[in-house]
Symmetry: C2
Subunit: 496 residues, 2 copies
């Protein structure tokens, strides 16, 4: 075909490049012995630097990759999405308070870090290799539509047959396991098919569209009142911080923008929050929980503790002892279940209940047989816990601090500096409650600074400031613009 | 079900609202006689004001709705998307220079304008009613995914069976037909399935994801050089302003951000632009066309005139006399074909070639039998042309000016002011060429101000200023932020 003979564009000599490319791949293939019958492919190699492969690009993986010394390490992040999601802002983006991209940091933006857009399927600790499955199917044969929401869950657990396997192997000198966990459904039928999680930016986009769909549908002239009530019944299962913040942001959206745009409809809308436990925000101090309940009661957000969901269908869910209730949108946020990669690991010591990988205080994965640290394998974030240590929650704060500790220890290589054990510097927790009110629990904090509890407007201000200061300056600028603009003109309500 | 008995949320009395709602619908149903067996449903009514129904929310429909006097008219826009697309910025958003929402204006943001998110299927000029088909399916039974790209084309022409029919009827006192036109494929097989149009924001989003998919796929270690070249072969069919501007923006993306992120890959990428005509930008002055060709040649954008595409498949297209060439992305922009609604109208006088509705100089649709203006029916934008008038191009400028003329005439109602005939105030045309260069053709302009031709950096500056000044202040602010930020940090390259 004639296009193949054409001279290369953009002034780069193609044969040189092709050579450089193939050489680097071959070199690795001969350097690392594998018996998979698959070629070992590392994106770039350096004879001097150790290859660190980081599995996952969440709070743990992204942070460790960002902080490793590029003079010491050749870092490759393995991630099916290719970006870090700033999870505390997901609820804000799902109702249009912030544009989606303000909650994203692409791995490709990190200097001196390689990205392999793939899923890790299995680890061979003896040969120090990881088998990956490409997460980028051929665009010509795949649908031209956007990635489906929840693909990170469904592709693995529901519809593995849809994903065409294209496996390859990467070798590592050091491995960081930080693949996180999946949303738990406790086996409830229909959750994957009919509910929305809120773990990824694609979830947030699907939720945003669904909320606007519900209002638009309810405004069609042929829709009767019972159906309007069903469409505008927004239900949330899970009374942890994610569920609470989504309920709060949704309340803000409905009482401001939706009230302005659909004045005849907002009166039919309800927000209800269910939890199987006897209360919400159980990790918070009691006075803060009571404050949250008072705020929600004042804002007409219905809280239903002690509620067990038996089944979810299209537009309805069945609650034990109550029967079927309809919904326009159901957001499901009830905790975590283990990632399939973690399930597949048999050589490591794991927590029997959560299946998390046990590590020592230096975040090294422990061998199941010997109880000793495995060679060159580390685990951080929601897929791991420190054996015999205090039980730490599966939060961004813990994952982020573990990543910083691990990166600092790895950066000690070649120096006299001793490695430091991981100790959580508990900065407290905070949750947004809607109507410019938040709660901050710093009763358990072990760092300098203010202690105790904060509620209300000042807590809201601290809540926003904290997330603002944790973002890249690019996203800080965008957050400031969107927050300011939406205050004046309202949120963007176009659905596309 | 218990939720039905719950008291209404957000402090609005639901039974009052339900009553107000049903009354307004019933009133219209008795006021306008129809024999469809369908209830006539107008969203809101007022006994004093005339009901203007505007079909379409593009340059014509959105502008007329925005400018009608709400004291005189009760305006309802019928639109399957519910938003206005600022088409000149689509190419910019499709490569990430601007965020998608900067090219959107939701109809719901217009004060005193009702929206019916639906497609107009047929018009009964005698009873003054329009039959609509809801464009908002039930969210519970439809997929939770985003709207598919090109749904505005495919739903009507390729897959009508997928759309569940929910028809209803609206009555009008005055009707404005501004549904635009569809992208022409000239019957070329495979275009709908495998090429991308660039008419809607969903097209832009699909293209943006596809470009990043191609580069990510090409960077997977198991992809061979021939496939890399195929993936990074970006082809455009159509040498008009849309195709040219997309080629230009894509060139900018590749030579800046992609070069930084995929330095080993950009050397394999090509941009090729095909047209069946002997040249590109044929509506522009010859010296400007030559300037454009020189710029493209310098930027390694290949221009292939006199090329006829015979068929498009997944990842390839067949060109007459050349055979099959592969592509990673094919953007198709070859002109317009009539909207099905316009095809369905038999009582009106139409241009035999384009099937556009003929109007008089007051933009009134003409009766086929009598040649006289039909009562209360107007047509503007790409679905219409003035009979015996000068042939005007199907551009935003023409649609926008016709809409302003029509709104001004309609706002004369009840005054002594005479209606004015439409005369185009030709402000010239402009096209972006990449690398901060543009061309502006003001040789045919009939308004005060500078005449003649402008090229290069100054034309680029005028190009950006013009679109900036035509946007809402909300979008102006966003455009400024994104332009400034992307200049410093590069475009956002996360794909989700």
């Amino acid at each position: 075909m004639s296009f193949l003979q054409r001279s290369t564009r953009f002034g780069i000599n193609s044969s040189q490049l092709a050579l450089a490319r193939s050489v680097s791949v071959t070199k690795v293939a001969t350097a690392v012995p594998v018996d998979h019958g698959m070629k070992v492919c590392n994106p770039k190699t350096s004879t001097k630097r150790e290859r660190v492969v980081v599995l996952g690009s969440g709070w743990g993986g992204f942070t460790v990759a960002k902080n490793l010394d590029p003079k010491l390490y050749d870092v490759t992040v393995v991630s099916p999405t290719g970006y870090f999601t700033f999870t505390p802002l997901l609820a804000s983006t799902s109702v249009g308070t912030l544009e989606f991209r303000t909650a994203l940091e692409p791995v490709r933006r990190l200097k001196n870090v390689n990205l392999s857009m793939a899923r890790a399927e299995s680890i061979d600790f003896k040969t120090q290799t990881v088998t990956l499955n490409s997460a980028v199917p051929s665009p010509a044969t795949s649908s031209s539509h956007s990635l489906p929401p929840r693909a990170h869950n469904k592709a693995m657990t529901i519809a593995p047959e849809k994903h065409q396997d294209e496996r390859f192997v990467v070798g590592y000198d050091k491995l960081v396991i930080s693949v996180g966990a999946f949303s738990a459904t406790f086996g409830t039928p229909g959750v994957y098919e009919h509910a929305h999680f809120l773990k990824d930016i694609r979830d947030a986009r699907a939720i945003r569209k669904r909320i606007l769909d519900c209002f638009e549908r309810a405004s069609q002239p042929f829709i009767k009142e019972a159906e309007i009530r069903a469409l505008l019944a927004f239900r949330i299962v899970g009374g942890g911080p994610t569920g609470i913040e989504f309920a709060a942001e949704l309340h803000d959206l409905i009482t401001s923008d939706m009230k302005r745009i659909y004045p005849d409809l907002v009166g039919f809308s309800t927000i209800s929050l269910y939890d199987v436990a006897p209360g919400i925000l159980l990790s918070f101090e009691e006075s803060l929980r009571e404050y949250a309940m008072r705020r929600f009661s004042r804002d007409n957000v219905i809280v239903r503790p002690n509620s067990r969901v038996l089944e979810v269908g299209p537009g309805w869910m069945e609650i034990e002892g109550e029967g079927k209730v309809p919904f326009g949108l159901l957001v499901w946020s009830t905790g975590l279940e283990p990632n399939p990669l973690i399930k597949s690991i048999s050589q490591a010591d794991k927590d029997p209940r959560s299946q998390s990988l046990f590590t020592d205080n230096f975040l090294r994965v422990l061998d199941k047989e010997t109880g000793e640290p495995m060679k060159n394998v580390y685990a951080i974030g929601d897929n791991s816990m420190i054996k015999d240590g205090p039980k730490l929650p599966a939060t961004a704060q813990v994952a982020n601090q573990k990543a910083l500790n691990l990166a600092a220890n790895l950066n000690n290589a070649g120096t006299e500096k001793p490695d430091t054990e991981f100790i959580l510097r508990n900065k407290g927790s905070m949750v947004y409650l809607g109507s410019w009110r938040a709660i901050i629990d710093r009763t358990a904090t072990n760092v300098s600074g203010p202690k105790g509890e904060v509620t209300g407007l000042s807590a809201w201000f601290l809540w926003r400031s904290a997330y603002w200061s944790m973002s890249s300056w690019r996203n800080r600028l965008l957050m400031s613009v969107y927050w300011g603009m939406n205050l004046i003109t309202g949120r963007d309500i176009s659905r596309f």
